[in-house]
Amino acid sequence: MNVIEIKNLEKIYDGKSVPVHAVNDINLTFEQGEFAAIVGPSGSGKTTLLNLIGGLDKPTSGEIIISGTNIGELSSSKMIDFRLNNIGFVFQAYNLIPVLTAKENVEFIMHLQGKSPAEKEARSMEMLNAVGLGDRAESRPNKLSGGQQQRVAVARALASKPQFILADEPTANLDSKSAETLLDIMGKLNKEEKITFIFSTHDQRVMKKARRVITVEDGKVVSDKKAE
């Protein structure tokens, strides 16, 4: 079953002298349970593509249909609600709320969804345990290592029960061991829970773990390889 369908997607930025074709006529589909990496050199358009899929940016033309909803037709406020309930985000710089504990950071998304305190408590601990940080639930981000913070960010992204998770360079700020641990956790969640992950990365470690690698250059998909 297709979770994401991308049709003739284009994004053109007004450059200083000439318009920049950041995404140029991309057509892709992502199925439930994929573990895909969008790779390419800096400036190739992979982050722009991820932002468009996540509804953080509006395409110049083309369509993105997520589980039957054309997100280009959603108003700004409806798009925010759609993101909240359908898309999980993991950022390169973790972006946790520093004044909240790990558990509170995970609960925060559910608070925005209007979940009950009991549900928030149970789900946040479940997610923290899933990323191996159940024992650090009450720690603030500044007491956690970079790898641990990124695992909390994954737990936060999972907490809202999204249809898929978009991870923008999730391992870029991590050392090898932390990156390996994070990828193992995400891989396990993908296999066991059938959670769809889409990464933008140029990290070889991520590419090796991914079961599908989409290469983007100059805003175009130049290869789309699925593992056997």
Partner: protein, 408 residues
């Protein structure tokens, strides 16, 4: 949870928030204490004016207001007093004769207002007897005829002492001029030097006998109420009850004081509003820095699904908490300071002459009502709300995709 985040966010940069809170604290403290000083001064002046000069309500013959003729009196004043004393709002009543006269001594003379009073009844309405200077007389404690109580300012002007003789020249009901010698039995001093120079007090009977005035009548009936706030209501009732008499409240008798009291509240709030306006700009600046520092975090919040209303609410709450922390501290310190000085007073007697010339006491006891503290508290919240609008709008204009990748 957004409340909790907003509160915790204040303390992310403790130094910066402490500076803003300290500025608001001292600003509000200055505003509240200054308001307490002004209010205390005016309250004391009002109390003194009602207690010593005007009472709450006065009745006159309407013609007497226009022309202070001896014959323009209230007829059957005793009968009117007998009916008024039954009113529950009334604390005490006194009738008075009030005549323009000349006061002369061997060395000089001056125009004065002579009050003919019944000392025991007058004591219930006016506190002049409490203002007799130490060692300067027993007030009207003896039965001696032609006793007189004068103000210190007049005593200085006419070089009079206790037991000195003073000759009062005035007109009788027949239009004849008469002189009578009075012996000073008391020298008083109020906080109003003009009042002290102009007003002298003799016994009602002495003045009535001297002028041939009917002792059942009076020029003035002074009414002291249990509550000053009832002055207007009682005056309205009396106007209906005695349509032939002129009924005046203290505000009409001393319009300058009436206007001062009317405008005092506006002035007190105006003062604190100016302070909050100045502080507001500082708060806006701080919150703009906060938004700038947290672009990445705000971008993340927008990206993960925090809607604009919640972002706005979070920044607004943070601004309100920042302002309110300073505001509560400022108000609390203001209350403490006002309480301390209310007990001991602030002695400004070095400016005593100036204060006395405009009727104010040089000893100031700051005071302010609870409604002012509540009003200030609400104004601080309003300042927080207004100060948050511009920074919050800045935050809402962020593009989440760009904001999450911003490096600061």
């Amino acid at each position: 949870m957004i409340n909790s985040i907003a509160w915790k966010n204040i303390w992310r940069n403790k130094l910066r928030s402490s500076v803003v809170i300290a500025a608001v604290t001292f600003g509000i403290l200055a505003g509240v204490f200054s308001a307490g000083l002004m209010n205390g001064m005016v309250e004391r002046r009002l109390r003194a004016a009602i207690e010593l000069e005007t009472s709450n309500v006065q009745l006159h013959n309407p013609k007497y207001i226009e022309n202070k003729e001896l014959t323009f009196a209230i007829n059957n004043a005793d009968g009117i007093i007998a009916s008024l004393i039954k009113m529950p709002e009334v604390k005490a009543i006194a009738k008075r004769m009030k005549i323009m006269a000349m006061a002369n001594t061997a060395s000089s003379g001056t125009g004065v207002v002579v009050y003919g009073i019944e000392p025991e009844k007058e004591k219930l309405v006016s506190g002049i007897y409490k203002k007799i200077l130490p060692g300067e007389g027993p007030y009207f404690e003896t039965d001696r005829k032609n006793s007189i109580v004068i103000g210190q300012k007049l005593a200085e002007k006419l070089k009079l002492k206790l037991k000195s003789k003073i000759v009062i020249t005035l007109q009788t009901v027949d239009g004849m001029m008469v002189n009578a010698a009075f012996k000073v039995v008391g020298i008083y001093k109020t906080s109003n030097s003009m009042f002290d120079e102009m007003n002298i007090f003799v016994r009602y009977n002495d003045l009535a006998n001297l002028t041939g005035f009917n002792e059942q009548n009076a020029h003035e009936i002074a009414i002291l109420l249990n509550d000053t706030n009832l002055s207007d209501d009682v005056a309205q009732k009396l106007t209906k009850q005695f349509p032939n008499l002129d009924v005046m409240t203290w505000k009409e008798i001393q319009p300058d004081l009436g206007i001062t009291v009317e405008f005092l509240n506006i002035m007190l709030y105006f003062y604190v509003i100016i302070i909050l306006l100045a502080l507001g700009f500082g708060i806006v600046n701080t919150m703009l820095m906060v938004v700038l520092e947290r672009i990445k975090e705000l971008g993340m919040l927008m990206a993960v699904g925090m809607n604009k209303m919640r972002i706005f609410k979070m920044i607004m709450l943070e601004t309100i908490y920042l302002s309110l922390t300073g505001g509560i501290l400022g108000i609390t310190l203001g209350i403490i300071l006002i309480q301390i000085f209310q007990q001991h007073g602030i002695d400004l007697s070095i400016y005593g002459e100036g204060f006395s010339a405009i009727g104010y006491d040089s000893m100031i006891y700051p005071s302010i009502g609870i409604d002012y503290y509540i009003g200030t508290f609400l104004l601080v919240i309003l300042t927080g709300i207004i100060a948050s609008i511009y920074p919050a709008r800045k935050a809402l204009k962020l593009n989440p995709a760009e904001a999450v990748r911003t490096e600061i």
